[in-house]
Amino acid sequence: MVQTVMTIAAEDEMPVGKRRSSLIRSPQFSSLVILIVLLAVFAIADRNFLSPLNISNMMAFLPELGIIALGMTLLLTAGEFDLSVGAVFGLAPVVVMLLVQNGGWAIGIALLAGLVLCIAIGAINGLIVTKIGISSFLVTLSILLVVRGAALYITQGFPLKSWDQPGFFVTLLAGSFNIGAFRFYTSLWWFIGLSLLAVYVLRYAKLGNWISAIGSNRSAAVARGVPADAVKIWLFILTSVLAGLAGMISAFRISAASPVAGTGYELEVIAMVVVGGTALTGGRGTILGTIVGALMLRAIRNGIVLVGVPGLAYNIFVGVIILAMLILHALLQKNAARS
């Protein structure tokens, strides 16, 4: 009996020999190979690509989209997605800063209010999708417009100066430290910690089994007593909160909160997730793949600039590389299904 399409969910339950052969065929493995090839190509094309400064640079940006991608992976595995993450990324810090600067709120309380706001947005997405039964594409697209519009309206379109006094929260979200010649931000710890949690939940926890089952066949999961709607609502909330967290991290790091921050992030995040091997149709999700996908998109964006692709042609390359990745996945899966 040949294990065909690999999923993270099934991987731990296999005997070692079989595990090895299906690992090589798994989508996250092919993504990893492509990532290594990409890194090698960029490193050869430009020596500065692997310089401590450039690596530090990539690592500074990586967690911000990567954190959102973790939530998006779980949501996609459950069969839904969220287009409002980029807008939430922009709105959360803007609201927090307005409360601090115009409302005179303490930063801690304002951050708490930002958290509540993200929970509310996620809950609205989740409730409309599950209880009214409108597709998440339409719901979160509308919410994207509402949230982005709100950010623009309350700031009148002007960026705000962010909180730049050193203190507990800035250190917590955007502090930095040096390891040798490398400079890392605390956000990297957030990303690593949240990644480990997400791997645990999706692979080993009861909840992960439910998430995959819901995305794979919702009515089957419901028939077994899995609270599908509740799980989806919580995943929408989680994704929104992670988007808000990423927005705060970014705003603290650059000491500015812009109402247009995060524009287009939703598509980039979804690209990271699917390039990593998570199925857009639900049921099959891989956090390790998403991490590889996040690294890959970061490396592409960074490497392309270093290699000297003209700025205006840059998105062409990003799009083509993503498409090539997806085609490769599809071909690998077809192959696997045939064997």
Binding site: Q3, A10, E13, K206, N209, A220, A221, V222, G225, G283
Partner: protein
């Protein structure tokens, strides 16, 4: 006298203007196999979905062991001991056989972690293998194989072994022999008999009247959302049942049924 396990009284259910269930009443006793018959769209699946908590009923009462219950979710139905194998096979194709067998009732360590509790993977695999062996399909199937790699008949067998696993009071099978080969079909019928011998009650929906005569004790016929006839298998024959289902010669049949 055998004890009553499940009693439905005047169940009603409409989908918009479609009245899928009107005044359906039915009793199921311990160790009894009841066949629920009726043409396409008669309301059979709707009736069993109401019992298994898929959707709320508009009106009517459900009694389990003489006690009135309200079944608001599939979980509540399962907790009452009602296991259902639905017509559209209720398995998640992207999950392994083992994970499907225990979906919703996963063995976990550190139970206090709730939904975040880690699965007991060793127990999951062992129990799944043991179960597959019991159903007699362990030779062909590996507990770690994904459902998407199985044939329709194999999937049906998995769904049935899952109902066996949790050996419920009431087992509901909605057209379980659909798409099955000869051998698998006999497996299902054998399973129904085994369940009866073990004292479980079985509600069997099927379009195959021969199967009915092979395993059922009693038949209940539905037409347009209503239960139009109820007979013990010993007191009837194939032709009568067939005409009951199609509703040919309605007036004389109604008299006989009453």
């Amino acid at each position: 006298m055998m004890q009553e396990v499940l009693r439905l009284q005047n169940l009603q259910k409409s989908f918009g203007s479609v009245c899928a269930l009107k005044n359906a009443s039915l009793t199921l006793k311990e160790g009894e196999v009841v066949a629920l018959l009726g043409d396409n769209g008669a309301g059979k699946s709707t009736l069993i979905k109401a019992i298994s908590g898929f959707f709320p009923i508009d009106r009517g009462d459900i009694y389990v062991r003489g006690e009135k219950v309200s079944i608001r979710s599939t979980r509540e139905a399962m907790d009452l001991g009602i296991e259902t194998i639905h017509q559209d096979t209720s398995l998640a194709p992207d999950l392994s056989i083992a994970r499907n067998l225990f979906l919703g009732r996963e063995p976990v360590n550190l139970k206090w972690l709730g939904v975040f509790a880690p699965l007991d993977l060793a127990k999951l695999r062992d129990a799944a293998s043991a179960l597959l062996k019991r159903v007699g399909i362990s030779k062909k199937l590996d507990a770690d194989a994904l459902i998407s790699t199985l044939s329709g008949g194999e999937r049906q067998s998995i769904a049935i072994s899952r109902a066996m696993q949790f050996a419920a009071r009431v087992i509901i099978l909605d057209e379980p022999t659909n798409n099955l080969g000869v051998e698998e079909t006999h497996g299902v019928l054998r399973f129904v008999k085994e369940m009866r011998e073990a004292g479980h009650s079985v509600l069997l929906i099927t379009h195959n009247i021969h199967h009915v005569f092979e395993v059922a004790d009693r038949i209940v016929v539905m037409r347009r959302g209503e239960i139009v006839a109820e007979q013990t298998v010993a007191d009837t024959d194939l032709l009568t049942v067939e005409s009951l289902i199609t509703g040919a010669d309605l007036s004389s049949l109604m008299k006989r049924a009453l």
